[in-house]
Symmetry: none
Subunit: 185 residues, 2 copies
Amino acid sequence: MDEGMSGFCIKTAGGGGYGGGNNRASTGGGGAGGTKCGRWNPTAEQVKVLTDLFRSGLRTPTTDQIQKISSQLSFYGKIESKNVFYWFQNHKARERLKRRRVSVEERDLFDGADNIFSEKHAGELEQLTEPERVVETLQLFPLNSYEESQKLRLPRSERNEIRTFSCAMEKEIDHPQLDLRLSFV
Amino acid sequence: MDEGMSGFCIKTAGGGGYGGGNNRASTGGGGAGGTKCGRWNPTAEQVKVLTDLFRSGLRTPTTDQIQKISSQLSFYGKIESKNVFYWFQNHKARERLKRRRVSVEERDLFDGADNIFSEKHAGELEQLTEPERVVETLQLFPLNSYEESQKLRLPRSERNEIRTFSCAMEKEIDHPQLDLRLSFV
DNA sequence: GCAAATTAATGATTTATTCAAG
DNA sequence: CTTGAATAAATCATTAATTTGC
C-alpha cells in the first residue's frame, strides 16, 4: 500500500515471476486455476517442508538459506524468497504466541484450587503448538555431543543450533528428494 | 526486475505476531515442589522479572538491589541473593557474547552475500537472538547521581539508562504487583 | 447442495527497539 | 548523538474455512 518499499521490491502484481508456473495444489494449494497473484498461497508440500525445517530448529534463516529453501520449494509451486522469509517470521512469532497463551492458561489453572482441567489443556498445548520433535521425514545429522548436551540445558529460551539437515518427504507425490542440506556447520 | 538476482535483500522487513502474554512456571525449583536443593532453578516468573530488569537497563545491581530483587522474587519460589547476583553476571556476559558473535556473523554475511561459505557460520548463531522484550509492564523512574556515576563504568554499549524502577506486571493478575523500587543513594 | 455472510488463518507491511559503529 | 542494520511487535489485508439461509 505504500510506495516506500526500500527493501525488496514488491512485484507481486506482474504475472512474471518465477517460471514455476502455477501451484500444483494438493489440498489448500492456492491459485486454483487462474493466476491470482494476490499473495503467496503455499502448497501443502511447501508448508510441510517449511514446518519440518522449523521443527528441526530453524528459526531465522540467513539469506543464503532462504534462497536455497525457496529454490527447492519452487518445485512445488510458485514461491519467492520473501515468502520464505515472511513464513519464518510469522511462524516463529505465532508459535511463540500460542505457547504463551497456553502457558497463561496453565498458570491460571494451576494457581486455582483444583486443576481438574489441566490434562485437557495440556492436550491442547500439544495440539496447538508445534512440538519440536524430529519427524521421520527429517533426518538430522547429529551435532557433537557436547553441544547437544549444552542445548538441552537451555529449555527456557527456545534456542536451537541445528546445523546440518536434509529434508526428504516420504511417500508423497512425485517429487525429487529434497536435499536442503544447508550446511551450517 | 530483480527476478534474476537473488532478489530479496533483507533491508526493511519484519513480520511477526504479538507478544503479550507472560511466561509461566514450568520447572520451577520453587519452594513448594520437591525439595531438590541442588542448585537454584528459577521459575518462569523469576526469569521474566530478571529479564525485564535487565532489559530496562540494570546490569550490575548493588547489594541492596540484589536483596530487594531476591526478596520480591522469593514469592515465586526459592531464591537467594547470590542467585540474583550470579544471574546478572551470567546474563550480562552471555548477552555480550551473543552480540559479539552475531555481529561477527553479520560482517561475514556482508562480505560475501553470495558466498556459499558464509552460511557456514550463519546457522550457528542465527537463532540466538535475545528473547522477547517486555516493556509495557515496566516503568522507569528518573535516576540519581550515584547510578549515573556507576553508569560511566560500563562500556559504552552498556551505558544504558539505568534507573530506579518498579516492575509491575499488569495483565497477569494472579501474583502481587511487584514493586521493586530500589532506592539508590 | 450452494453461495452469501461471517469467522479464522495467515501472508505481508509498518513501526519500534536494540546494539554498536562512526 | 547520529545512524545503519537486524528483528520483534503490532497491524493491515487477503485468502481459506465455516456458518447460515434458502
